[in-house]
């Protein structure tokens, strides 16, 4: 090994030395890619039918929700369906990061008790897996959009920064919840209720513009609201998203990422005695 001398000393409260932490994280980046690859292979996403399922699953979901919208509203149109699929697929990126992230530390118990490595690799891997699962659905959406006959425009490129913000938010959420789960193992049981609530509070089954001004205050408490609204504006309607929405979303994403990471890094050295 390249470092012949390792010194272990008591740590002060708070963060580990960030520079060394980052170095050791960066040197293990192959772990993250190898882990996501073997995990996806284990779930058979390397086979044709596995990939088909990856696409079929969100498609069926969007069909079910579309049925719901048609029944409740009495009518619908192709833009509404495009909005539903686009936002639902992005929502599943966040939700998959949460469900994958929540158990990442507790499931990595054996590794944590045996090896010294930056623990944050585990929730990061969970998010990478969620992103890999998300990408084919994005392609499916573009096909749907073409079939529905919606015009393409350059404004759609605004979806890229929105996606990056959504990924940062997913990472922050996964890191936070994986750490919380070490101390409260039943968070896993509450998670479905939380994601379901988040789904209904977000502009997925409805558009942000459908809400009454009173209900619009919801968006102040839901980091996904500005993200999904901007995503739909750019990708479905081909409009430039509200810059204020983008900034609010960015604020949420950075806030959750930094607070979650601080919390995680200051706690991770005791994970081994807590598992």
């Amino acid at each position: 090994m390249s470092t012949p001398l390792q010194v272990y000393e008591p740590f002060r409260a708070g963060l580990p030395p960030l520079r060394t932490y980052w170095k050791s994280l960066w040197s293990r980046r192959t772990f993250i890619s190898e882990y996501s690859r073997s995990e996806l292979r284990e779930q058979h996403f390397d086979s044709a039918f596995g990939q088909l399922w990856l696409i079929l699953n969100p498609l069926l979901l969007s069909a079910v929700y579309f049925l719901l919208i048609v029944i409740i509203r009495g009518s619908s149109d192709s833009t509404r369906y495009a909005h539903l699929t686009a936002t639902l697929f992005l929502f599943y990126l966040v939700s998959n990061s949460l469900t994958g992230g929540v158990k990442s530390i507790t499931a990595g118990q054996r590794l944590i008790l045996n090896t010294a490595f930056p623990r944050i690799m585990l929730p990061i891997s969970a998010v990478v897996i969620a992103v890999i699962k998300f990408l084919p659905t994005l392609a499916v959406f573009l096909v749907i959009r073409t079939v529905l006959g919606l015009a393409f425009s350059w404004q759609m490129l605004w979806a890229i920064p929105v996606l990056l913000i959504a990924m940062l938010l997913s990472l922050g959420l996964a890191i936070t919840i994986s750490c919380v789960n070490v101390y409260f193992r039943d968070i896993t049981n509450f998670l479905p209720y939380m994601t379901r609530t988040l789904l209904y509070l977000s502009p997925i089954l409805y558009e942000a513009s459908d809400l009454t001004p009173k209900l619009r205050t919801l968006e102040l408490f839901n980091p996904l609201f500005p993200i999904l609204d901007s995503w739909s504006r750019a990708l479905v309607h081909g409009q430039v998203p509200h810059i204020s929405h983008l900034l609010i979303a960015l604020g949420w994403a950075f806030g959750i990422f930094f607070i979650g990471t601080y919390f995680f890094l200051s706690r991770e050295r005791e994970f081994a005695v807590r598992l």
Partner: protein, 265 residues
């Protein structure tokens, strides 16, 4: 990882432990839950307890030596191993490790039981900081040493505990670390594999590597160790020539030289 022989000389210091103390807080519940916390709220019930695992331990491990660690359950042996491996940071004191460490602690490899043995070996190696190429070069030898055959490509949840232990030992011993820490992992294999692993340990010893063995099998320790340390309630009680220390420990346990502590259980 060094490939063939260790770059270290006999009697050079491998691990130096100075005034090491370890105190940690852990949950009383094996599976702490929010529900339990809410239900006991206001009753002042304690959810955590503080454990003084190690107390002022001083210990040097030299290259070319095999150090056996003995002590009753809960004496702090595993904690000491975890601090040496950098898995748990010390509360007080200082640990210096001169060389690469490979650990084989109580749980062995097996990161994700739904993945195959092969995947787990790679993931474990990568997490420990090895490169994919390094694992590639060792993989054949690991698979062969473990005698798992085709089972190496089966999910690890299908493995028996003996297979787990065999794979774990093979990984730890095959990468030829400068310092190998083995924590009660030799006891699950069958007699044939046990002998094979003991031979490997002797081989590593003559290679001028440092080995630390935690075991309750006194016969094994007498066979391979040239140094034994006895830990009791977080303190180093005695360290020295295997026969002397083990006899003192036996006397302390008041069980005499019975079959029960000669055998792995």
């Amino acid at each position: 990882m060094p490939s063939v022989s260790s770059p270290h000389k006999t009697n050079e210091i491998a691990v130096s432990v100075r005034d090491l103390s370890l105190t940690y807080t852990t949950a009383i519940d094996r599976r702490p839950t929010l529900k339990a916390r809410l239900k006991t709220m206001g009753r002042g019930g304690k959810q955590t307890r503080v454990i003084n695992a190690l107390n002022q331990v001083n210990l040097d491990v030299e290259y070319g030596h095999v150090l056996g660690i003995i002590g009753a359950n809960g004496a702090g042996k595993s904690s000491l191993m975890r601090v040496m491996a950098g898995i748990v940071p010390p509360t007080r004191g200082r640990v210096e490790v001169y060389g690469s460490v490979s650990t084989l602690l109580a749980l062995g490899v097996g990161f994700n039981p739904s993945l195959t043995g092969r995947d787990n070996v790679y993931l474990g190696g990568l997490a420990a900081g090895m490169s994919r190429e390094e694992i590639d070069t060792h993989f054949e030898e690991i698979a062969e040493f473990s005698e798992l055959g085709e089972a190496i490509d089966a999910p690890m949840r299908t493995y028996s505990s003996g297979m787990y232990a065999r794979l774990a030992f093979s990984v730890a011993a095959t990468v030829r670390p400068d310092i190998l820490i083995v924590d009660e992992a030799l006891s699950t294999g069958d007699a044939k594999f046990k002998e094979k692993s003991l031979n490997r340990i002797k081989e590593l010893r003559s290679d001028d590597r440092a080995l630390i063995l935690v075991s309750h099998a006194m016969a094994t320790l007498l066979d391979v160790c040239n140094d034994v340390a006895w830990i009791h309630k977080g303190k180093l009680v005695m360290r020295g020539e295997p026969n002397t220390v083990i006899n003192a420990y036996r006397e302390f346990l008041q069980v005499g030289k019975s079959a029960a502590i000669d055998e792995d259980v």
